[in-house]
């Protein structure tokens, strides 16, 4: 196994006027290629901040983030954008699709931003992904014409169009009903089994159980770690953490 992501002594401080808020307090972790890692914690615990910093959406206050041999915290905005485009796929709770573009255009968008790729190749990839995710018949529709589950599938297809090294999913089932949520998780698991490294932030033990292991965050620190698979055990550990914290 090779280390894909290496985070060392990561700190993130948000400052609004005189008020400082420390979201991450020296987190270190490693993610191996092919891992499916879930991050759990209460609201405000720092899990989304960790995901954003690893995904190059935000810069750490101190510490370093290495991914696929590159140090993200030393990159400028343009380098980070190019890195995100080629190495990272994002799936969000609220899908974040572009409303006035069709499903196909949404999926193809990250690839089209890369000027070197040929349109035919991009079209082939998008059709393959839409087929695989069962939404090829929705290709010419707009996001508002689709159900939540279908929209999240479009977001997943978009995330995979550039064959990312790492998939980052932030509460991917948080805005879906149980059945749609399960379908989305099945898709993510399916990709992971094909070798896709995935880091997922979730509140739901039912989602976290699909991961190889689960990291628990509280007050900006990783406070526990356990293997995935057992939904009840994960839920219990989460409750324990809450009680210890209160």
């Amino acid at each position: 196994m090779t280390t894909l992501v290496k985070v060392t002594e990561l700190e993130k401080v948000y400052q609004t006027g005189e008020i400082k808020f420390q979201a991450l307090r020296g987190i270190s972790l490693e993610i191996q290629a092919g891992d499916f890692v879930a991050i759990m914690g209460e609201s405000g615990s720092g899990k989304s901040t960790l995901l954003h910093v690893i995904g190059g959406l935000d810069q750490p206050t101190s510490g370093s983030v290495w991914m696929a041999g590159q140090q993200l915290d030393k990159m400028n905005e343009t380098e980070l954008a190019r890195f995100r485009r080629s190495e990272i796929g994002f799936v969000f709770q609220f899908f974040n699709l572009i409303e006035n573009l069709t499903v196909r255009a949404n999926v193809e968008l990250p690839a089209l931003l890369e000027d070197q790729l040929k349109k035919k190749e991009i079209r082939r990839r998008s059709e393959e992904l839409l087929e695989r995710l069962g939404i090829s018949d929705q290709a010419n529709k707009h996001p508002w014409e689709l159900s939540g589950g279908q929209q999240q599938r479009v977001a997943i297809a978009r995330a995979f169009i550039n064959f990312p090294t790492l998939l980052l999913a932030d509460e991917p089932t948080g805005n879906l009903d149980t059945s749609s949520g399960d379908e989305v998780l099945d898709i993510l698991k399916d990709f992971n089994q094909g070798g896709q490294t995935t880091l997922m932030v979730t509140h739901a033990a039912s989602a976290a159980k699909l991961a190889n292991y689960v990291l628990f965050i509280r007050d900006g620190l990783i406070v526990d770690r356990m293997p995935g698979g057992n939904e009840k055990a994960i839920a219990r550990r989460l409750i324990d953490l809450r009680q210890r914290g209160s």
């Binding site: 901040t49 954003h52 959406l57 935000d58 905005e77 343009t78 954008a81 190019r82 995100r84 485009r85 080629s86 994002f90 969000f92 609220f94 974040n96 699709l97 572009i98 409303e99 006035n100 968008l109 990250p110 089209l112 931003l113 890369e114 000027d115 349109k119 707009h142 978009r158 550039n162």
Partner: protein, 776 residues
């Protein structure tokens, strides 16, 4: 009510930059409107003000020699309609030699040494007459015609043909000098002592008197009373202040047409700018309107909110803009004031203020109210979800087309953004288009002025110089001119006062000679054939007599209606005098009316490199020669630069407003789609691509504005100028434009548009993705 007020204050102060920029737009719009209205309301203001300042006479009576007595004058002054008079003024028609070379017939007039109570003169150069000195004050029109400057010497011919040289010590403007009255000689003013010493024989003096009337419009009634005082006619000619004013005003007719076009366009542009800015501003806040309705605001409260905001902004803006407009107001009128030799600051007027404060806040409030009503009627959920308009579901065909052409995705998205919300795009585009129209308008007016300056034939001045004769016969004059060095061609002219069968009098120009060598500009119809009874006429005459090309006109001499002659009108020419109320016919055709008709003045076309001294020496070999050569000066005075400045100022203001508006709209639309920008950056759009995407939208609007604005500007200028010049009796205006300049305009406007959106684009490219995502 207090909730609405609190929200008004919060909106105005929370988005203080937007408030500031919209207020600036309103200020500039109000200034533009003030400028346009004050110009339009004061076109004849400089003349009227000067007339009042000088307490000028409304009616001048010039008496026949030996026919009038002091008693007659006293009886005229005692008429009920007469409130004041200049007392009798004496004059003498004398031939003078100016600066040892130009000879002319002038009216030497006596004026009091102290500026009189009635009809004083406006000294515009040098000084007024001093006691005990033999000196001359020359009237401005005479000074302009004969290029006389203060310090020049004028040689006056006495009754006994001896000469006396007098220095010119000043140039004065006489508002009652009718520049286009063919029988009014140029005036030179001297003191009573100088006059008596040069022309001691009182029997040769011509008497005249100027009258101030109780009712300035009652000139004809007073004149009837005067003429009915005696059984025999004793008034030779008279000057009506309304004719003099018309002449003074007509001398700047082209300026009037241009200024009126400028003002009318500026008024419409102002209203459209205000409506588009306010409407698009309110429409960009429909999401907020949805939220306000969701928390309990009624439709009326929402309307009140925006009406209140824009009422405050527009009242502040209108006040400051009105002051700014008043400060700038003299500029467009400089062209007129310069030609009248005066200065003029349009006065503060309650009418002007009322109009500005009615139009600017009125359009602001109406536009805000209409947009807010539209927003308040929208479905709450839909308003919150999609804002003012749902983006179009299908991409614009142009977007698909440029995508098909292989344009980069960022440009395709920017292009699509322009048309995704068409109403907003139209409102922003409208502003930019107005800017383009303004510039095209300015360039076209300027180009047209330049063309007229370079080609005076368009103004009806087809000759380089003219020669007048006194005692020499027509044959002798023509013989001299046909052999004069450097004269390519000439034609002769004889002028007759004629009248229609309805009694309408005007001046007929009967011409003969090498007419085909002169570039007569005939915008309608054709030139007449020689030896026929065909005529070409000024537009003013056609309109006055309600005639058309092809119509016939029967005329008699004004003084003698025993014989009549009929002409067929075959064309229209730009007549520069008498409000275009003149007519040109072949000299041969007037012989039936006046069998002594023979050319009295001659119009010359000279070689480009003519030796003027040699030519003058040939035509005027010695001081006693009665032929006088006068060169034609520039048809359009250099003071027209002020008009050009004003027009470019208008263009500049409109472009500045358009840039500010593009900036506001780009900022608002970027704020609206900040979530989309966040998503695009998340999936890998680099900052440069964000900038390209946003400025592409502005660039497309700029391109559309150019495509629509240039032809619209050209059309508008043509229509406005033609309409106005026709209204001023000037006839068709030949509109010219420099095509290269217009082509050069295309990249400039697109660049300006791109520039307007650059700051919002750069701001969007730097937004924190995390902050955007957290706002969900």
């Amino acid at each position: 009510m207090s909730a609405v007020w609190k929200k008004i204050v919060a909106d105005l102060f929370h988005r203080r930059w937007i408030t500031f920029l919209v207020t600036c737009t309103v200020i500039v719009s109000a200034a533009l409107l003030t400028l346009a209205l004050s110009t339009l309301l004061n076109l004849s203001g400089p003349y009227d003000k000067l007339f009042d300042e000088l307490n000028s006479a409304h009616l001048w009576l010039h008496f026949k020699p030996y026919r009038v007595s002091s008693m007659d004058i006293r009886r005229i002054e005692a008429l009920p309609g007469v409130v004041d008079s200049t007392d009798v003024q004496y004059s003498y028609f004398s031939q003078v030699t100016i600066s040892n070379e130009t000879r002319a017939w002038v009216d030497l007039r006596v004026i009091p040494l102290e500026p009189p109570n009635v009809h004083s003169l406006k000294v515009i150069a040098g000084r007024y007459l001093l006691p005990g000195k033999d000196e001359i004050l020359i009237e401005k029109y005479a000074a302009d015609t004969y290029h006389v400057a203060v310090g020049d010497m004028i040689e006056v011919t006495r009754e006994d043909n001896t000469k006396a040289a007098l220095p010119v010590i000043g140039i004065a403007y006489d508002p009652m000098y009718d520049t286009y009255r063919s029988n009014q000689l140029p005036s030179l003013f001297v003191s009573q002592d100088t006059f008596r010493s040069q022309f001691p024989d009182q029997d040769t003096w011509v008497w005249s008197v100027g009258l101030r009337l109780a009712d300035p419009e009652a000139v004809d009634e007073v004149l009837d009373e005067i003429e009915s005082m005696r059984s025999s006619e004793f008034v030779d000619t008279h000057t009506d202040w309304r004719d003099a004013k018309e002449s003074a005003v007509f001398s700047v007719q082209l300026t009037f047409a241009f200024l009126s076009a400028f003002s009318i366009f500026a008024i419409f542009a102002t209203i459209l700018i205000v409506v588009s800015v306010v409407s698009s501003m309110v429409l960009s806040q429909i999401r907020q309107i949805g939220i306000l309705k969701a928390i309990g605001f009624t439709g009326n409260q929402v309307s009140l909110l925006y009406v209140g905001q824009y009422a405050i902004i527009s009242l502040v803006g209108a006040g400051l803009g009105f002051i700014l407009g008043l400060i700038l107001a003299p500029l467009p009128l400089q062209t007129i004031t310069a030609s009248l030799g005066t200065t003029y600051y349009p006065p503060f007027s309650f009418l002007l203020m009322g109009l500005v404060f009615l139009i600017i806040p009125g359009t602001n409030i109406l536009a805000a109210w209409a947009a807010a009503r539209r927003g308040a009627k929208a479905n709450v959920i839909r308003s919150i979800a999609t804002g003012a308009e749902s983006p179009l579901q299908k991409p614009f065909w142009g977007t698909r087309f440029i995508e098909y052409l292989g344009a980069p995705m960022t440009i395709v998205m920017g292009f699509n953004d322009t048309f995704a919300k068409p109403i907003r795009a139209i409102l922003t585009g409208l502003n930019l288009t107005l800017g383009v129209i303004g510039i095209v308008f300015g360039l076209t007016l300027s180009g047209t002025l330049q063309t007229y300056r370079e080609n005076p034939a368009l103004l009806g001045i087809v000759y380089d110089a003219f020669v007048t004769r006194q005692d020499s016969s027509d044959g002798r004059a023509q013989r001299i001119l046909s052999q004069a060095p450097g004269v390519q061609a000439f034609y002769g002219e004889y002028r007759l006062r004629v009248k229609t069968l309805d009694g309408e009098e005007f001046l007929l120009r009967a011409v003969e000679g090498e007419l085909s060598a002169f570039p007569f500009y005939i915008p309608e119809g054709r030139f007449f054939y020689l030896d026929t009874n065909e005529a070409i006429v000024g537009r003013g005459l056609l309109d006055w007599l309600d005639l058309e090309i092809g119509d016939s006109l029967t005329l008699t001499l004004a003084e003698n209606d025993r014989r009549t002659e009929t002409w067929t009108i075959v064309g229209v020419y730009p007549e520069p005098a008498d409000a275009g109320q003149r007519m040109i016919v072949p000299l041969s055709s007037v012989l039936a009316l006046d069998r002594h008709a023979a050319s009295e003045s001659y119009y010359l076309k000279v070689d480009q490199n003519v030796d003027l001294l040699k030519l003058r020496k040939y035509i005027e070999p010695d001081k006693d020669t009665d032929l006088t050569l006068t060169l034609v000066e520039e048809a359009i005075p250099s003071s027209v630069i002020f008009l050009q400045l004003a027009i470019f100022m208008l263009g500049g203001i409109l472009v500045a407003i358009a840039v500010v508006n593009v900036f506001i709209m780009s900022l608002l639309s970027t704020q609206e789609k900040i979530r989309v920008v966040g998503i695009l950056k998340t999936i890998g759009m680099i900052p440069f691509q964000v900038v390209v995407m946003i400025i592409t939208s502005a660039g497309v609007l700029g391109m559309l504005a150019v495509l629509i604005g240039i032809p619209a500007g050209l059309l508008l200028t043509r229509v406005l100028l033609t309409t106005l010049s026709n209204a001023f009796g000037f006839g068709l205006v030949s509109v010219s434009v420099n095509v290269l300049v217009i082509i050069f305009l295309i990249p400039i406007i697109i660049s300006i548009s791109l520039l307007g959106s650059l700051i919002p684009a750069r701001w969007a490219s730097r937004i924190s993705i995390v902050r955007v995502l957290r706002q969900e």
